[in-house]
């Protein structure tokens, strides 16, 4: 027996559904008679499978319905960290969020990341975010001659900063932080995670340079342990714990 195209329910077929995406758009150019710089909500109906992600739905809109929709994505598999956005009022990666997990019966809201200047639709200016990251000097700092082989490290020493090596710089944590929203001066959780990765690395010698930067007015003491960052992180990094470990190093004077 062969399967026919008009068979009612194919075995193993993925159920499809219609989902509504409500997207907060920002038009810097003023197309279609809009004021330049106008912000508005637009709804799109998309035919999607239960296995589709929010990114697939955004692709369908951009490719089939409205080519002017702007969003970032690169690898589309949760590794590059390009497509962090605010989906149903929570920061997530569009490529790691399944539509069926979001209650597709109701419109799914998609907004750009909060706290960074919007450039167009879902694209924000990441420069303030990267500037904070550069500030904490995210590179190996050593003294003495360069060894001919790898710099060795015990598994215990490696485990100290294992969690913070997972960061993909998607900015989901920093833009979920209420202190970052109100105070543009704050380094933000991600920069502290980036610093933590080197501060607790036994091979690195610049820990006090970084701790001095994070002891600043805009540094770790701004953290109110709201835990938004830990909840938002698509890589499951315990961000608030990492920040607290930096605070502990500063209060005890020991790394």
């Amino acid at each position: 027996m062969t399967a026919t195209a008009d068979a009612p329910a194919e075995v193993g077929a993925i159920p499809s559904m219609t989902v509504t995406l409500k997207i907060l758009r920002f038009d810097p150019d003023g197309l279609d008679g809009r004021e330049p710089g106008s912000e508005y909500w637009e709804e799109f109906q998309v035919e999607a499978h239960a296995t589709d992600r929010v990114l697939d739905a955004l692709h369908k809109i951009k490719w089939d319905q409205d080519g002017s929709l702007a969003f970032r994505r690169s690898c589309a598999h949760g590794v590059c960290g390009s497509d962090a956005m605010r989906i149903n009022a929570r920061n997530r990666l569009a490529c790691k969020t399944l539509l069926k997990d979001l209650n597709p019966a109701r419109p799914i809201t998609v907004e750009p990341l909060k706290g960074l200047p919007v450039e167009k639709d879902l694209i924000v200016d990441m420069e303030p975010f990267f500037a904070s990251y550069r500030e904490i000097m995210p590179f190996l700092m050593t003294s003495g001659p360069t060894p001919e082989r790898e710099r060795l490290q015990s598994p215990e020493d490696r485990a100290k900063f294992d969690d913070t090596t997972k960061c993909i710089l998607c900015a989901a944590c920093t833009t979920s932080c209420p202190v970052f929203w109100t105070d543009g001066q704050y380094f933000g959780p991600q920069a502290i995670v980036g610093a933590h990765r080197f501060i607790f690395d036994s091979r690195d010698e610049g820990e006090w340079d970084r701790l001095e930067i994070l002891n600043d007015k805009a540094g770790v003491w701004k953290c109110r342990t709201a835990f938004n960052c830990t909840e938002a992180c698509p890589r499951g990094i315990e961000v608030t714990k990492a920040i607290s470990e930096v605070k502990k190093a500063l209060t005890t004077g020991e790394v």
Partner: protein, 150 residues
């Protein structure tokens, strides 16, 4: 559009541990330490006033005056007053830092906070240490028992 690579600060700056004494850090430590002490002080205060003895029925002028005549409770209340005021003002200071962005508003709110904190601590301390538990020409039934000796 031409864009240049971001300039990185040169590493290996001379290390100074002097920043360990920065005000931000001390304000954070103070907030944690005073918070723990305040939990003990406030629950002792509530227990003694509202639970032990006759509970809430015991609170009248005589009860309060009796407590404030005792140096232990004077210093206990003084500690609770100052710690609570500084702890609260420190928290308010952080909220002002976060939400008041224009310089004049920030300065105004900071000074209003400082002045009100100092005024409340001074007034409270004045009451604690100059309180007269046995005012003259008051009916003896309302006064604490220690006034009978006078």
């Amino acid at each position: 559009m031409m864009s240049t690579a971001p300039e990185l600060k040169s590493p290996r700056r001379p290390v100074s541990h002097s920043t360990l004494g920065r005000a931000q850090r001390w304000s954070w430590i103070f907030q944690r330490v005073s918070g723990v002490i305040l939990i003990v002080l406030i629950f002792t205060h509530l227990f003694v006033n509202l639970w032990s003895g006759d509970g809430i029925n015991q609170i009248d002028f005589a009860f309060v005056a009796g407590k404030l005549a005792n140096p232990f409770w004077q210093w206990f209340d003084f500690l609770m007053l100052t710690l609570a005021m500084i702890h609260g003002a420190n928290g308010m200071r952080m909220i002002i830092e976060d939400y008041a962005h224009t310089p004049w508003l920030k300065a105004t709110l900071h000074w209003a906070l400082r002045i009100s904190t100092v005024v409340i601590i001074v007034l409270g301390t004045l009451v604690l240490f100059t309180f007269d538990p046995c005012p003259a020409d008051a009916p003896a039934s309302l006064l604490p028992s220690l006034c009978e000796d006078i």
